[in-house]
């Protein structure tokens, strides 16, 4: 919908754009090793790593672009990468 003065009435509607398809490497978070330091949570440029109701962190692969900052910043190496296959 095109509006006058290019007003967007729906805040945060870029969630329609699933950027997960950009990914070359998929980060995999091992919750048994995770020490909940929140490094991956705060450094993720997408906000794709969120806490679930049990207090575990989960990666949202709909939006994760696979930059692997989380893997690089994890102090206990709980995050590993695998190549995305078709």
């Amino acid at each position: 919908m095109v509006t006058i003065a290019a007003i967007i009435y729906e805040p945060g509607n870029s969630i329609r754009n699933k950027t997960g398809s950009w990914r070359t490497f998929r980060p995999i978070l091992d919750n048994n090793k995770c020490v909940k330091c929140e490094n991956c949570y705060i450094f993720c440029p997408e906000g794709a790593i969120q806490e679930d109701e049990n207090g575990n962190f989960k990666i949202d692969y709909d939006y994760c672009k696979g930059c692997l900052i989380c893997m690089n910043e994890c102090p206990v190496n709980a995050i590993t990468k695998v190549r995305e296959e078709k």
């Binding site: 950027t19 705060i42 440029p45 709909d62 672009k65 930059c67 692997l68």
Partner: protein, 295 residues
């Protein structure tokens, strides 16, 4: 729970994988909370977060031209003040007005508007996310580009070795305006950065924060090293973290032993033309700068 969980910066924006500007926006909104109005001039952050008709912002947001972010932010702030006084709106509510501009929109094009807003004393916070060139249009040099960095308009070759002028110290120029709060920050230190944003918002008057934000495409390094490079910039003394509150200078992070700048420089493609002597020259320059600041 160390950090606030409220997510005011939506995913799905078009930033590169490993984008530092997106981290800046996320951290600022986490620190500022939802009673915030953002003013963003043209630049990477604006282009990647709001491809019409989509937006990644869950707070009121306005896009303005390159040169007038600070002017529009002061207008927004004055409008809120007038609405409060004349119509009794937003009673007992504190509304933060934050302008987030890139280094081109702040140090080059938007400089006179920024200087004016700071001098007039509007109650706004201006955040400059510094990626040290015009990254959005294809890595052209800005006045914030550091010495000897190669960009597309200061290419390294047989005649020149990249940028021939040192980096403009915008934070110190802002401090010279005599405003109540000036700080530098880096996305690799999120607690420090968020504390500075919160502190700035609690102060009445114009505030300025310069935040260093490595850029994966412009600086030339693999995307997973964004945070690591930012940390190295601080630990080598290339980008010191300090705050100036009412004229009182204070270093907020002091590396126990400064690392050699070579470590930082050798990780980036924009410095790959440098020889060991050139790095030695940069090291001497940084040493001198750190001595002045007491690092």
């Amino acid at each position: 729970m160390q950090f606030p969980r409220e997510e005011l910066f939506a995913p799905g924006h078009r930033g590169c994988a490993g984008c530092g500007a997106a981290i800046v926006a996320r951290l600022v909104l986490k620190a500022a909370g939802k009673d915030t109005i953002c003013v963003v001039p043209t630049g990477c952050l604006e282009v990647m977060t709001t491809p019409y008709p989509e937006t990644s912002w869950r707070v009121p947001w306005i896009h303005v031209a390159f040169e007038n972010a600070a002017a529009v932010a002061s207008g927004v702030e004055s409008a809120i003040k007038a609405l409060k006084r004349k119509r009794g709106k937003f009673a007992n509510k504190k509304i933060n007005v934050i302008a987030i501009g890139g280094d081109g929109g702040t140090a080059d094009i938007g400089f006179q508007a920024l200087s004016g807003a700071m001098e007039r004393g509007h109650n706004i916070l201006y955040i400059m996310y510094d990626n040290e060139a015009y990254m959005n249009t294809g890595i052209q040099r800005s006045s914030s580009t550091p010495f000897m960095a190669a960009t597309t308009t200061s290419p390294a070759g047989s005649k020149i070795k990249g940028e021939d002028r040192p980096k403009k110290d915008v934070a110190m120029i802002m401090a010279a305006h005599g405003i109540p709060y000036v700080a530098t920050a880096c996305i690799s230190y999120p607690e420090d950065f968020m504390r500075k944003v919160k502190k700035a918002l609690s102060i009445e008057g114009p505030k300025f924060i310069q935040v260093l934000q490595p850029c994966t495409t412009g600086w030339g390094y693999p995307p997973h090293k964004t945070i690591e490079i930012g940390r190295l910039a601080v630990e080598t003394g290339i980008f010191p973290l300090y705050e100036i509150e009412n004229g009182e200078f204070r270093i907020t992070y002091k590396p126990s032993k400064r690392k050699p700048v070579k470590e930082y420089i050798r990780m980036q493609k924009r410095y790959r033309h440098l020889t060991d002597e050139d790095i030695e020259r940069i090291q001497r320059y940084i040493d001198e700068k750190c001595k002045l600041l007491g690092l």
